[in-house]
Amino acid sequence: MKRVYAKEEVCAGCRLCEIWCVVAHSKTKDIIKAFNEEFPRPLPRVQVEEFGSFSFALQCRHCNEPPCIEACMTGAMHREAPDGPVLHDADKCVGCWMCIMVCPYGAIARDETLKKIASKCDLCYGEEEPACVAHCPNEALVFEDRGE
């Protein structure tokens, strides 16, 4: 399946991926409204890790054998197709953090803005290219099928 891969050697650490991820998951899909008017504002589902001048962006890897799906006690974490993204049903989630306990990438966040739920990358499900990739100014994120 197509996944997002990071190239740490060209990441500038600008965090535009985080910003555009928020916009892509907002109601209005408008950067000004998303940041100025919307409540709750979505959390970014991609996270830039930084150490000195060195950085990369990380989001859900959409594992072939996702530990988060195995550990999810409500069935909120799921896949619609064997080669589709790992998706999360906010309505079913109770915020037990079992997924956080098992994700080896630390790619799932706690969203406690309204009711407690997990928050993770959905590869901008339905879009041709995820927002983080589309808006990366230095091609430090690529969306490709590496046959995995």
Binding site: P66, W97, I100, M101, R110
Partner: protein, 423 residues
């Protein structure tokens, strides 16, 4: 091929999904004593608290059995297995034959022999029916005593707190959640509970249950001499594997049903998974019952795939738990309380004011256990380090940092993780 699964929780559902990955056609019959379509057992405390309604109890969508081609015999109890004739005998006498059998019967609550335990108002808390009964009773309850401050006791307590009931937890150990936390971590949560009005009695247990004139529990007497008034008592000291269907069969059992790394029992074509199974533990390599949901699902899936002819090895279960007490999240895994003797390296960070605590247990530069209280974000990175036995020597000084992440991994490991899908 005809598959029979006894059970209907995480391991059984993992079994169905494992079988269907390999064999889309074979007949699957699922037998469950409870009358419900598969539901999330850990949600019973949320249901009791009124945070989750009946519809949201479902562990899989309503169309699950249809979509996966499963014939679900709900409300039917499997009484025993006849391994000679390869069939399961139900309590109502019907026999169901199998080519491959998965025993996923889970656990049953352990009730110790306490004088007066047959009084009314003494219950356990592991099924949806338990939660429903307690929820119906809740408006009339004033004082509830919970025997056991482990995971089940704490969950029952949380469910009851929502009803404004006066709760006392009686725990034999010197702390609540003693098996999954250490003294410091438990202390943080206990302080919060006491602030919320829960009464804790530690280092003691119940000696006698005294019924009132109506035959229902009225007071409980503790080993420490104290007497507690109670109009309900929940026994929550743990579960043990439900071995009933394996009794009087050649299926080998220790504490649970013994299985190899493909979840096979010693009897051909018979598999076991979940809380009933005694499988390999990751750190020790020894057989152990680890009754937690992630292990149950994974074991079920591996069993299902193996039953359908595709073997994938179980790499071993790891004790791990995520629980929230009084709004403070806690996650722990592996060995959190290493023995005193040398050889273990323990790192700790404590911020009492903000209820944040981190503890890392290392041996020979491998992480073997951790506890996170308060700030539990990215806990799975630590779980991954344990599972994969990564040499953390080069970055162990960073383990306790609040911004510890994948960036702290050595370059080769990091590149590998970022450029491939390894799971």
């Amino acid at each position: 091929m005809k598959y029979v699964i006894i059970g209907n929780s995480a391991a059984a559902i993992g079994g169905v999904e494992g079988i269907r990955r390999v064999d889309p056609e074979g007949e699957i019959i699922l037998i469950s004593k409870e009358p419900y379509a598969t539901y999330s057992r850990p949600l019973i405390s949320y249901f009791l608290a009124g945070q989750v309604d009946a519809r949201h109890m479902a562990y899989r969508p309503a169309s699950f059995y249809r979509d996966t081609g499963v014939t679900a015999l709900l409300g039917r109890e499997a009484a025993r297995v006849d391994t000679e004739a390869s069939r399961v005998i139900l309590a109502d006498g019907e026999a169901v034959s199998y080519d491959r059998l998965l025993i996923a019967t889970g656990g049953v609550p352990f009730v110790p022999p306490i004088e007066g335990a047959d009084a009314g108002g003494v219950t356990t808390f592991t099924t949806w029916d338990d939660a429903k009964a307690l929820k119906r009773l809740a408006p009339s309850l004033k004082k509830v005593v919970i025997l056991g401050g482990g995971l089940i006791g704490v969950k029952a307590m949380e469910g009851l707190q929502a009803h404004g009931i006066d709760i006392t937890v009686v725990e034999l150990m010197d702390r609540i959640l003693g098996l999954v936390l250490d003294k410091t971590a438990s202390g943080i949560l206990e302080k919060k509970l006491v602030q919320e009005g829960v009464t804790l009695r530690k280092g003691t247990t119940i000696r006698k249950i005294v019924p009132g004139g109506d035959g229902k529990v009225r007071e409980v007497l503790l080993e420490n001499g104290e007497s507690l008034e109670a109009d309900h008592l929940i026994i929550a000291i743990g579960v043990r594997p439900n071995l009933r269907v394996a009794a009087d069969t050649p299926i080998a059992c220790g504490r649970g049903i013994l299985v190899d790394d493909a979840m096979r029992t010693n009897v051909p074509h018979v598999y076991a998974a979940g809380d009933v199974a005694e499988a390999t533990e990751l750190l020790s390599g020894e057989k152990r019952v680890i009754p937690i949901l992630p292990n149950a699902y994974r074991q079920g899936k591996i069993a299902g795939m193996a039953m359908a002819g595709q073997e994938s090895a179980y790499l071993g279960g790891l004790v791990m738990n995520s629980v929230e007490v009084g709004g403070i999240p806690a996650i722990s895994a592996g060995l959190m309380n290493p023995p005193e003797e040398a050889g273990y390296e323990v790192k700790r960070f404590l911020d009492k004011k903000n209820n944040v605590y981190r503890k890392m247990v290392l041996k020979d530069d491998r992480l073997i256990g951790f506890i996170l209280i308060g700030a539990v974000d990215r806990a799975g990175i630590y779980t991954g380090l344990i599972r994969e036995r990564i040499d953390v020597g080069p970055f162990k000084r960073r383990l306790l940092e609040s911004d510890f992440g994948v960036i702290d991994f050595p370059r080769d490991l990091r590149s590998y993780k970022l450029s491939t899908v390894y799971m």
